[in-house]
């Protein structure tokens, strides 16, 4: 899968590219408006991560350009997914971006695991229309109807437990900090739940439910850091 990051902040760009490459993506990086427009004319990307304020122009213009290209039938380009990453948590920018055809909006600072999860979910929605099963060993998730099976028997999960499991599998073999999990599960309400006992309770319940169905315990506590899902 090929991604394009449009971001002028070098240190941040480096981190994002490093993280996503480890996830197995091909990730290119444009540091200004000109570079970005050149790249989208020449190559086709599955997903773009666009910073709105970049030197030489606005990220919104790039999104507009991209959408114009895909509307133009002669170029035979299929639509790319777009995630806006912006320092401005402004509702106007958000609405404008989404109106132009962006799929998601992340406000800086964000967790890299969150960005990864958003890309995965966007890709699932766009490429497979959400009807492919996500499998991890004995665990099978059907994102279309939020059904989870462990060794073929259905797992009864709450909405938060489902989100947690999906987040874990999406970011498998990664250390997920409690802060990143909290933000992923509660979004705008994360300020409310900054006492992380909640996450502990959710993880405890999820773990118990999976073991009860004969599943293995994949959730490992990484001391002081968070949790890791994997064999």
């Amino acid at each position: 899968m090929k991604l394009l990051l449009i971001e002028d902040e070098i240190a941040l760009g480096e981190s994002i590219v490093t993280y996503l490459k480890k996830e197995g993506y091909v990730c290119e990086w444009a540091k200004n408006f000109q570079e970005a427009t050149d790249k989208i004319y020449v190559y086709k990307y599955d997903c773009l991560m666009v910073d709105i304020t970049i030197p030489g122009g606005s990220g919104l213009q790039i999104i507009e350009e991209l959408k114009n290209q895909s509307r133009d039938k002669s170029t035979k380009r299929s639509d790319s997914g777009v995630i806006i990453i912006s320092a401005k948590n402004s509702l106007d920018d958000k609405i404008k971006g989404l109106d132009l055809g962006a799929d998601d909006y992340l406000t800086k600072p964000f967790h890299l695991s969150e960005l990864n999860s958003r890309i995965r979910s966007l890709m699932r929605r766009r490429l497979n229309k959400g009807d492919t099963l996500i499998e991890f060993n004995e665990i099978v998730i059907n994102p279309a109807n939020h059904e989870v099976k462990v060794k073929s028997s259905a797992l009864d999960l709450t909405a938060k437990e489902y989100g947690l499991l999906l987040y874990f599998i999406t970011n498998k073999n990664r250390v997920l900090t409690k802060e990143a999990i909290a933000e992923h599960l509660w979004g705008d309400e994360k300020d409310v739940v900054d006492s992380f006992d909640f996450i502990y309770s959710h993880i405890k319940n999820l773990r118990k439910k999976m073991i009860d169905k004969g599943g293995e315990d994949y959730i490992k506590t990484v001391y002081g850091m968070g949790y890791k899902f994997g064999e």
Binding site: E9, S15, P109, F110, L112, S113, D191, V192, V193
Partner: protein
Amino acid sequence: MKLLTRTTIYYFISTLLVFSIGTVIFFYSLRKILDEEVNEGLQTKKTELQLYFSKTEVLPEVWPPGTGILSISKYRGTFNDVNRDTLYLNTVEGEILPYRLLQFSTQVNKENYSVLISQPLIESEDLLEAIIFSLIILFVITIILMILINRVISKKIWRTFYETLSTLKKFDLKNSGSLKFSKTGIREFKELNEALSLLTEKISSDFRNMKEFTENASHELQTPLAVISAKLELLIQSSGLTEEQANSIRVCYESANKLAKINSSLLLVSRIENRQFNNEEKTDLSEMLQLKLKSFSELFELNGLKVENKIETKNIQIPLPAALSEILLNNLLGNALKHTEKGGLVFIALSTHKLSVANTGKPLDVPATEIFKRFARSSKSANSNGLGLSILKKICDTYNLKPTYLYRDGKHFFEVEF
């Protein structure tokens, strides 16, 4: 007290004083003049009589009326004129009236006589009455005129001042720039208006600068914060960290997250202050509250809290944008969630004009008046940045809602009236 009333009172008092002193002076000087006039009159009569006696050399039997002679009697030797005042019954008026008498000696046919003549005096009382009466009339006329003139003056001259005042009253730091005052020809008011224009312009620009600074500073902080947390997250993923290193990274990561939260809260405050929301929007609070309660129910349950709610009416529209209503509810419910001990109770009540969230708990260790202030928090709550309630207050202040806090019967009550 109005300026006009006060000046009128001062004018009234000073005029009264002037008129009272005037009355006294007037009374004494008039009486002196009249007194001299009487004396002169008596002297004239005396001269006339002496002239008459020296011509006729005979005392007439009957004194014609009007000469004022009371008696003529023989007298041994001559004497100087004697003046004295006395009272007589005036037969015509039937009243006792004051008279001035003059006794002088004269010679008729080489014989000495003493002659007593009289002249009626004007009563002091009458005089005083007349003076006071006329001065009171004068006084009343003066006061009436003064009030009328004052009113005209205040309407014409002070008009600019009142216009300035009403312009100033409309001054709103959040909306207006410098104030524009109406033109005036009066120097003092012109100077006042100029000074006020300068002042309000300075205040407005300072306020704008301050707001811009907060906003810019917060925005500028976002990117480095993003870099820090991204780098730390990469570091966390790396294998082979010692426990010491892992601990340091964790502390840095937590601090960076805390900083990011404070920063985004400050940004939110400045956005509320700048009213950067769709201000026309209304929210159905009962519907939103139901939704929020649903998403919070899990959290309440996990924390071992019991929730009782009483949402009275459906469709309660409040004049607050949805994004802010959500923050308001998040902060109120989150506050109850954070500060209620395990096994505690949370009460939520919504009526047409009031939202009330109460929770059981020990009394605060900060004064109740401080509770809505920035960074005011109980020393023990480490997982709160002390901005939640100040954001709530800011939202309420900006959109004219009334937040209150009180502690009663072992419960903390947070209420918002709308």
